[in-house]
């Protein structure tokens, strides 16, 4: 009896997750697999770029600066023991480009913009604004979901680039200005070890993948929220938890594919 119950529960769980994936896929498909409307779509996209991108900039820039500085300080203390403090530049730059830039930006983005997206769309659903659009013969996927999705996909890679650039200057600040590494050797060794294809393109690919996943989860959680305050608060938490886990798991997968050879 109880074994059968367990099996049934397993089956139900499997069915639920497949249903969820299917609904999430349909939602995204419905939102983006349409000819974009340039005249009416552009203002919506710009507005969302403001809400999602511009408003996340401060936290991203400040975090980037501090993480770059901390990385340089810790790295310096270790490297100076081997007399190789000149390699601080590549250490900071490569850590930021390959891992911290895309990953930390995506995590901060999930917390800042992802949760806000879920809450906003959840609220629109529970106050019947989405229904209201439907009844006005306007597709909410197109009006509400699509601009937010594209804004997320455009914003996150840009934010990751800013984070990384600011982080490297943060490292420069600590390494060169404070710890007195020669500025010339900091940059020349850094430049010799960072490679366009291996490091910068991969950084962009990673942040693009994270952008799609985080924005998608946030939108799906909001769009299929249980329309009451408790449902919205749960969905917001779920957005942050699920997208953070997804980012970390995908990061391992991508790193293995890019650098695992």
């Amino acid at each position: 009896m109880s074994v059968i119950d367990q099996i049934a529960r397993l089956g139900r769980g499997a069915i639920d997750s497949v249903t969820g994936l299917g609904r999430a896929g349909l939602m995204l498909w419905g939102a983006i697999a349409k000819v974009p409307r340039v005249r009416k779509g552009t203002p919506l996209l710009i507005k969302q770029l403001y809400v999602i991108g511009v408003q996340s900039m401060v936290i991203i820039l400040v975090s980037g600066l501090f993480i770059g500085m901390v990385l340089a300080l810790q790295g310096y203390n270790i490297l100076v023991g081997f007399g190789t403090e000149d390699s601080l530049g590549p250490m900071v730059a490569l850590s930021l480009l390959r891992e911290l830039g895309p990953v930390v930006t995506a995590l901060l983005f999930a917390g800042r913009a992802g949760s806000a997206l879920t809450a906003e769309i959840g609220l629109m659903k529970s106050t019947e604004q989405l229904s209201s659009l439907e009844m006005m013969a306007i597709d909410p996927l197109r009006q509400v979901i699509a601009p937010r999705f594209w804004a997320g996909v455009i914003s996150l890679p840009l934010l990751a680039l800013m984070f990384t650039a600011v982080g490297i200057y943060g490292g420069h600040l600590v390494g060169v200005e404070w710890k007195g590494i020669d500025s010339g050797s900091f940059w020349s060794i850094l430049q010799a070890s960072v490679e366009w294809r291996q490091d910068i393109v991969n950084c962009l690919i990673k942040s693009l993948v994270f952008a799609v996943v985080v924005t998608w989860i946030a939108l799906y959680r909001g769009y299929h929220v249980i329309p009451n305050p408790e449902g919205i608060s749960r969905a917001t938490t779920q957005t942050v938890v699920q997208s953070s886990l997804a980012v970390l798991a995908l990061d391992f997968l991508l790193t293995a594919m890019m650098f695992g050879r």
């Binding site: 203002p43 710009i46 507005k47 770029l49 403001y50 991108g53 511009v54 900039m57 081997f82 007399g83 190789t84 000149d86 730059a93 480009l97 455009i154 914003s155 890679p157 840009l158 934010l159 680039l161 800013m162 990384t164 650039a165 600011v166 490297i168 940059w187 060794i189 850094l190 430049q191 010799a192 070890s193 960072v194 490679e195 366009w196 490091d199 910068i200 950084c203």
Partner: protein, 157 residues
């Protein structure tokens, strides 16, 4: 619906993203945008390239004159083949020049040192696609220590 302020800020946002990209590309990765004609290619064989990497510099007297673009293995001789992209600016190296793999500092990055050879009437300059025959492989620390221990032993005897 959209205020001018929002449009302006979004424009600035995208601009600073692009600026960060350009900083990373040109200042950090130091990608050189020069037309493809400004390089000529040389080849060299080494029995051991040690820690040499793609993009390692080629230096003459400390001046960077080119970079390693490819490291492969010759399938017949089973030795490393290194492809070098040399700046067109420096194209007056005689065919007798030699290449050695050197290390900056004790544990630093490895690079190629090019020593220009003697010039005689019947010796031409290196051209695109030429091979430098006179090469000195990387020093491998283990080999050095092995040799040192061996010579110590033979002294004792």
């Amino acid at each position: 619906m959209l205020t001018r302020k929002i449009e302006l800020l979004v424009g600035l946002f995208i601009l600073s993203g692009l600026m960060a990209f350009l900083v990373l590309v040109f200042n950090v990765a130091n990608v050189e945008v020069k037309p493809g004609q400004s390089h000529y290619t040389l080849y060299a064989k080494f029995t051991n390239v040690g820690g040499l990497k793609v993009r390692s510099p080629v230096k003459v007297g400390g001046v960077v004159v080119g970079r390693v673009t490819k490291i492969g293995l010759d399938p017949d001789e089973l030795v490393a083949v290194v492809e070098l992209a040399m700046d067109k600016e420096y194209d007056q190296f005689p065919e007798t020049s030699s290449l050695s793999i050197l290390t900056s500092g004790l544990l630093g990055e490895q690079f190629l040192g090019l020593t220009p050879g003697f010039v005689m009437d019947d010796i031409g300059m290196l051209k695109d696609g030429d091979r430098i025959d006179d090469t000195h492989s990387a020093l491998v620390l283990e080999d050095l220590i092995g040799q040192f221990l061996y010579s110590m032993k033979s002294k004792e005897n």
